[in-house]
């Protein structure tokens, strides 16, 4: 092989894996579509518990794709996945506790 002037410090560039790149763009497409759906629902559905539940569900879908694919957590070891996921139980408890508390404060005020 002839020695190229502009690549003299770039030995061993591995060519891109088309499948891999395609997967990244698929994840991006899913995130974009889910956001578009949320946007659409915000204007077509009446506000209420059902709409809020759908929003939360779609948010979790987006969070899953960002953490699993973009942050690559899905492809890490099981032990690592669990050490990141299990501590978020505290957050779930915190949501329950504080939202109930907020409702109680409302009841006491009004």
């Amino acid at each position: 092989m002839a020695h190229h002037e502009d690549t003299h410090d770039e030995p061993g560039v591995i060519p891109a894996n088309k499948e891999h790149i395609k997967k990244i763009w698929m994840t991006a497409l899913i995130l974009g579509v889910v956001t578009a759906i949320e946007f659409l629902l915000a204007f077509t559905m009446p506000r209420g518990t059902l709409l809020v539940s759908i929003f939360i569900g779609l948010t979790i879908v987006k969070a899953f794709y960002i953490v699993a694919e973009f942050m690559h957590l899905r492809h890490e070891m099981k032990a690592l996945i669990w050490s990141i996921l299990i501590p978020t139980i505290f957050v779930i408890w915190m949501i329950i506790a504080f939202l109930i508390e907020g409702g109680e404060v409302y009841g006491a005020r009004y």
């Binding site: 410090d9 770039e10 061993g12 560039v13 591995i14 060519p15 891109a16 891999h20 790149i21 990244i24 763009w25 994840t27 991006a28 995130l31 974009g32 956001t35 949320e38 946007f39 915000a42 204007f43 506000r47 809020v52 929003f55 939360i56 779609l58 948010t59 987006k62 969070a63 960002i66 953490v67 694919e69 973009f70 942050m71 890490e76 070891m77 032990a79 690592l80 050490s83 990141i84 501590p87 978020t88 505290f90 957050v91 915190m94 949501i95 504080f98 939202l99 508390e101 907020g102 409702g103 404060v105 409302y106 005020r109 009004y110």
Partner: protein, 247 residues
């Protein structure tokens, strides 16, 4: 030779050191645990928002009759309905654009990490630059959003005693209860600070990629670590978008 064998294979668990039980480097692991702790901080902010919102009266009735009041929690799409350069009622459009920008910058970040695995310095440089552009654009959008929120609407809010309030800050708020404005500044501000530090980190690794530091080092792990941080910032925005703007 039996001694030698036992020295080479001492009875130790994989947690006793000398290897990576998670098959991830120290730096990446610590980034994960930092992000976990940061997730708790953001959760506390957003749950605080939920708590305060639940302890205030919600707006009842149809959106056509919506009028901001300091005693009723505002409907976000009636507050965030402005777009730069246009005088129209376009609820959530600008925030939608900001969300799109941040998701796209996350995509270019993954592409940079992917290129790093392949030791493709030119591609890493290119995608990092796009990510910086995306992050900086997002920050610019947020600056506009804040500025609009602070200056307020033309009519403002007329209080019972006749005084008119324009916009919001930490002392007054024309859109709703004072805490709504405070939480807006704290939550989007804290997220914006994360984006700003992310952009600074990106600039540093962009420089090191461009001058070939990581190439000489033989791996682009630093790009991966900053990538994790950058995706986390995107992740937080997904939650802020839902709980501050949509719900």
């Amino acid at each position: 030779m039996a001694t030698e064998v036992s020295l080479k294979n001492p009875k130790r668990s994989i947690w006793d050191g000398g290897q990576s039980p998670f098959k991830a480097s120290y730096g990446k692991l610590m980034m994960w645990f930092f992000l976990l702790s940061d997730a708790f901080t953001f959760s506390a902010f957003l749950i605080g928002y939920g708590y305060i919102r639940f302890s205030n009266p919600a707006f009842q009735g149809s959106l056509e009759d919506y009028a901001p009041s300091q005693s009723v929690w505002p409907v976000p799409e009636m507050v965030f309905d402005a777009v730069p350069f246009l005088h129209v009622h376009a609820p959530l459009v600008f925030v939608g654009i900001m969300t799109f920008i941040l998701i796209m910058s996350s995509v270019t970040m993954v592409l940079a990490v992917e290129a790093g695995h392949r030791m493709d310095r030119a591609a890493v440089t290119k995608y990092l630059l796009w990510t910086i552009v995306g992050g900086a654009t997002f920050l610019g959008c947020q600056a506009w959003e804040w500025s609009h929120f602070i200056h307020g609407t033309e009519n403002g809010l007329t209080l019972a005693d006749g005084t008119v309030i324009h916009g919001a800050n930490l002392a007054v708020n024309e859109y709703g209860p004072q805490l709504f404005a405070d939480l807006f500044f704290f939550i989007t501000g804290f997220h914006g600070t994360h984006v700003l530090s992310g952009v600074i980190l990106l600039m540093i690794i962009f420089y090191h990629t461009a001058v070939g530091t990581y190439h000489r080092r033989g791996h682009y792990e630093m790009v991966e670590k900053v990538g994790l941080y950058w995706h986390f910032v995107d992740l937080v925005w997904v939650f802020v978008f839902t709980f501050f703007y949509l719900v």
